[in-house]
């Protein structure tokens, strides 16, 4: 629903461009000022309340654990000893200098990262708009396109994004790499896109699913297989390079503590995903089988989604971001924030959405009930795990409803454009 709130009217003409970039700058400044203001005015809220919330930070993105890792490595101990720290060594490299500086610099890095994500999304929207202008619209339709500044604003002022940045969840850096990869893909810079994807994969594993759409996006419509093979080999090379770098810096231990940890779902701390409850309950002998099943459920989407939407790889990438957010092993609200941030880029599709009332309500209940049920279960002791998991199910169901709705919208619009004679027909999927 949020994208529809875009107030800015479509800008036309060259004079409007500078006004638009001014507005974008204001949006970025306002978003950064909001975050910095809260960081400075309410440090207690951030440190004691938000950063500990399981809905916002997971074992693989928690800032507290990152600080622990930094502390260990600053004292000459391997940060991966002790089983607390499960984040990529790249984050350690980034935060190591900040560890010796006052807190405000760390906050500034988070704020800057969030603003950069917003800027990248805005740039993607600009590129998309330019690309869409070359395509003929559906006969009889009004063309809507969200102004880039609005895209940035909708991302920056989404409460989920704000909360994620305030909780200092490191998922933001993964988002930054994903958005960067998509941006360089749109700009046809294959190498940079692949490097961004490799960094994103190194940070949170699941963005590896995006490699095929990125290859198609950057490689153009011709020679699809060749483009995918070339990009995939570069991707693997970049990953190996990163791996070697990290092994050199922090030892081979890191691999088991990050990638393996994510794949095996070793920490069953509750989160807003589907894994933890199931694997708390399951007997040990079935564990490995169901881990394969659950991880495949998430990862296997890469193939059909990339294939079905090969005409529009950016859309395929967005769908996969949504799939990752719903089905990954340690999801948080921040993952949904990136997906919602990408939605206004496809404003021509939003009018085709049919279940907005349902999915908006489901997401609202999923997000509203989770803290309440957490309070009843953990703080008050009168509820139990089933309460919180019920809220999680509602939340994931809302995301999946939105995803399917979006996919259907894309297919229907595609049909409207390619087969104008079918426009008056009813399409029913049963």
């Amino acid at each position: 629903m949020a994208p529809k709130a875009a107030a800015a009217r479509a800008q036309r003409g060259s004079g409007a461009t500078s006004a638009e970039s001014g507005r974008l700058a204001w949006a970025l400044l306002a978003g950064s000022a909001l975050r910095l203001g809260i960081f400075l005015l309410f440090p207690g809220l951030v440190a004691h309340y938000l950063s500990g919330r399981v809905e916002l930070s997971t074992p693989v993105t928690s800032y507290k654990r990152l600080v622990e890792g930094l502390h260990l490595s600053a004292h000459g101990v391997s940060p991966y000893d002790g089983g607390v720290f499960h984040q990529s060594p790249l984050l350690l490299l980034l935060f190591q200098p900040l560890y010796y500086l006052p807190d405000v610099f760390t906050s500034a890095v988070y704020v800057a990262a969030d603003a950069l994500v917003a800027l990248t999304l805005a740039k993607i929207a600009t590129a998309r708009k330019a690309g869409a202008a070359q395509q003929p619209p559906v006969p009889g339709e009004t063309v809507f396109a969200c102004a880039p500044s609005t895209v940035a604003m909708l991302y920056l002022f989404n409460p989920l994004t704000v909360a994620t940045a305030l909780a200092k969840s490191t998922v933001i850096f993964s988002h930054l790499s994903v958005a960067g990869a998509l941006y360089f893909g749109v700009r046809r810079r294959v190498d940079l896109a692949v490097v961004c994807a490799a960094i994103a994969t190194h940070l949170s594993l699941y963005p590896a699913m995006l490699i095929a759409p990125l290859a198609l996006l950057a490689g153009g419509a011709q020679r699809r297989t060749g483009a995918i093979v070339a990009a995939a080999s570069k991707f693997v090379a970049a990953l190996v390079l990163l791996h070697v770098l990290c092994v050199a810096a922090y030892g081979a231990q890191y691999f088991a503590a990050t990638v393996d940890f994510t794949l095996r779902v070793a920490d069953l701390q509750p989160n807003v995903g589907l894994f933890w409850y199931f694997f708390i309950e399951i007997f040990d002998e079935f564990r490995s089988f169901f881990i394969v099943v659950f991880q495949l459920t998430a990862l296997a989407f890469a193939i059909p989604v990339s294939w079905r939407f090969r005409q529009d790889p950016l859309f395929a990438g967005t769908m996969l971001v949504g799939v990752i957010s719903a089905l990954k092993s340690y999801p948080a609200w921040g993952d949904l924030a990136l997906f919602l941030g990408l939605l206004p880029v496809f404003e021509d599709l939003l009018k085709y959405l049919q279940y907005t009332f349902l999915s908006a309500n489901l997401l609202l209940y999923g997000i509203g009930l989770a803290p309440v049920f957490w309070h009843l279960w953990i703080e008050q002791g009168s509820g139990n795990a089933n309460f919180f998991y019920a809220a999680t199910l509602v939340y994931v169901f809302g995301q999946i409803t939105l995803l399917f709705d979006l996919g259907t919208a894309m297919l229907r619009r595609d049909l409207d454009m390619r087969r104008p004679e079918a426009r008056a027909h009813v399409v029913v999927q049963e």
């Binding site: 529809k4 006969p139 009018k351 049919q354 209940y365 509203g368 008050q380 009168s382 426009r423 008056a424």
Partner: protein, 634 residues
């Protein structure tokens, strides 16, 4: 899913078409059904008989010892210590500490100095506690017996303090304890216990405690106002955030009290006589339920057990209720007694013995707890003594209320924009979805902007009393503040309406959309509240949901109709309900300092992070304003 739902554009499923056809009218019967469901709860047909879930408790199956001469001597020693020559009333903590130490308890005095909002509940005072160490275990768990120096009715509670000394003596003689027994006396009421709990649990505080025991598993608070004898006892359960103790605990106390021939009734309300008519039974039960719901919603229950529940301690207050015409109670009520304990005769020996044995037996039973209470219900309401209604019996009522909001929201969402949008003709599909989306793009920002503005005002309302120096917030200034905020909010409403009337030609806003959005939001709030504090959820529905559903029920073509709508909404506004409903809210909380509910909520928010104050500021107030906007816009 396509069978059930299908939106703008595609072919509508028959189920959804029927739903859309009737949803406009369905929301009123649903809301009515929710209310009727609540009204049916006092009928005994729906009740379940209380039972013990936790078999290990074995209530009332031990030999009782309380009442021996040593216990009575310990009780008398309180009077002796307090009446020492030259002793000031303010010296009571040291006197009490001497009494506890003499009995052999680990004792500590905690002097708390709170510079909190004066008048709202100043908490300067002292807590004294003594711990009987468990001879049979290693002090990892504890039970708590608490008493405030004054009862919730502001009578002296010296009887309870005396009884505690006797119980402490008894407990130190007893060898069966597997848990520490902690006795706490406070003279600062609920904030005092709260300060003590903060210190006990090691939270940051100005007055830390050094004498501590294990995790407190359960707690009893005693309130024994001056009287010669008690007719019965009252059990008060509701915590500050609407939490309730486990139902097993309530059952145990009721069971034991019945054995000791001094029955303990929920809120002190007796069951109707056996021959009473159905209507009389209904009325008695309805009164009991209403009292419970009021206490639960506003956290205004009697007794110092209320803060304990927030710390995951099952707790309740046992209060003695004097017989009608009791000479001592009558004199005490007229305020003729001084606070001097010498003036406060103990209740008769049979009464003391019965209460002491009830507490003793309860402690022995709690001593059997193997782990934290978990077997029985945490979410219940009690329609009569020894009967309960579990969450499954009452939550459908809230479900119906939420459903009525959602149905109306769905209908209004569907009805926004011109009629041509709702045709089913596939030929006009492209045109329809484009018009529909253009409408959303034009109107959604203004709707969301209005909602945000109303909430920004609520945020100011919430923040200002927290930020300003507490000394400024007297009764007069808080009334003036509320009045100013009311003026500001109503003028904001009028301004918004004015702006959109001026732009009426652009159709920049659709009231249906605005109302649908507000309804979705209120529904989420009520649904989330209902699992935490059902009484508060019902209260929120009555003050925000119902007016919202009824807002703009019929057309508002004429100015007169708009004015009437506005007047009705003003009558349902927080300013109005909090002024007129003062007695309802404060009924069980006759503390003279909290003369305005707003300040009471503020104080509870301050001390106990109670939810009522933020809800009034961030939901009730803004939604009321939004209703006014809905009535006034074109």
């Amino acid at each position: 899913m396509t069978l059930v739902l299908s939106g703008q554009g595609e072919k509508t499923s028959p189920l959804l078409r029927a739903g859309r056809k009737y949803s406009a009218r369905l929301c009123y019967p649903l809301a009515a059904a929710g209310i009727v469901w609540l009204l049916l709860l006092p009928l005994s047909n729906f009740w379940n008989r209380a039972y013990f879930s936790e078999n290990a408790m074995m209530p009332g199956q031990v030999d009782l010892a309380f009442g021996a001469q040593s216990h009575l001597d310990a009780m008398a020693s309180v009077d002796a210590a307090l009446a020492q020559p030259g002793a000031e009333p303010a010296d009571w903590p040291d006197a009490m500490a001497r009494v506890f130490s003499k009995i052999g308890l680990d004792t500590e005095v905690q002097r708390i100095v709170c510079d909190e909002v004066p008048g709202i509940g100043s908490a300067a005072g002292a807590n004294v506690h003594g711990i009987v160490r468990a001879p049979r275990s290693d002090s990892v768990e504890a039970l708590l017996v608490a008493a405030a120096w004054r009862t919730a009715d502001n009578a002296t509670n010296v009887n309870a303090v005396r009884l505690m000394a006797g119980l402490a003596q008894y407990a130190s003689e007893q060898v069966h304890w597997a848990k520490d027994i902690i006795f706490v006396v406070t003279d600062a009421g609920e904030p005092g216990i709260e300060a003590w709990l903060r210190a006990y649990h090691g939270l940051p505080t100005q007055a830390p405690l050094s004498v501590r025991g294990g995790i407190i598993q359960a707690a009893l608070s005693l309130e024994l106002p001056p009287a010669r004898a008690y007719a019965r006892m009252g059990l008060f359960l509701e915590g500050k955030g609407g939490q309730l103790p486990n139902l097993d605990f309530v059952n145990i106390v009721q069971h034991i009290a019945r054995i000791e021939r001094l029955p303990a009734y929920i809120h002190g309300m007796e069951d109707p006589p056996r021959r009473a008519s159905l209507w009389q039974r209904y009325l008695v039960s309805a009164r009991l339920l209403l009292r419970q719901m009021r206490s639960q919603a506003f956290g205004s229950s009697m007794g110092v057990h209320a803060p304990l529940l927030r710390y995951r301690i099952d707790a309740l207050t046992v209060a003695g209720i004097p017989r009608a015409g009791d000479p001592v109670a009558a004199v005490a009520q007229q305020g003729l007694l001084r606070d001097d304990p010498a003036d406060m005769p103990l209740p008769g020996p049979a009464t003391v013995r019965a209460i002491g044995r009830t507490v003793e037996s309860t402690l022995r039973s709690l001593n059997n707890l193997l782990e934290h209470f978990h077997q029985s219900f945490f979410f219940y309401i009690l329609p009569a003594n020894q009967r309960y209604l579990s969450i499954g019996d009452y939550i459908p009522a809230v479900g119906l209320m939420v459903a009525s909001l959602l149905f109306q929201a769905m209908h209004l969402w569907w009805m926004q924009g011109p009629d041509s949008l709702r045709s089913d003709n596939p030929r006009t599909r492209i045109e329809r979805i484009n018009t529909y989306y253009a409408l959303l793009r034009r109107t959604l920002p203004s709707s969301i902007g209005i909602i945000l503005r109303a909430h920004a005002l609520g945020l100011v309302l919430l923040a200002v009393p927290i930020l300003i120096p507490p000394a400024v917030l007297t009764n007069t200034t808080s009334t003036a503040y509320l009045f100013t905020m009311a003026l500001a909010s109503v003028s904001m409403v009028l301004h918004i309406a004015d702006v959109y009337w001026a732009e009426a030609a652009h159709a920049a806003i659709d009231w249906r959309q605005l109302k649908a959005l507000v309804e979705m939001y209120v529904a989420v709030v009520i649904a989330s509240l209902s699992v935490m504090n059902v009484s508060l959820a019902v209260g929120m529905f009555v003050v925000t949901g119902l007016p919202l559903i009824l807002t703009r029920m019929c057309s508002t073509d004429s100015r007169l109709r708009r004015a009437i709508g506005l007047a009705l909404l003003l009558a349902a506004s927080p300013e109005c309900t909090m002024t007129l409903g003062r007695n309802v809210v404060l009924g069980l909380h006759p503390l003279d300092f909290a003369s305005s509910p707003f300040r009471m909520f503020l104080g509870d928010f301050h001390h106990f992070s109670s939810l009522v104050y933020p809800l009034v500021c961030l939901v009730y107030w803004p939604v009321n304003l939004l209703c006014m906007v809905i009535v006034l816009v074109p």
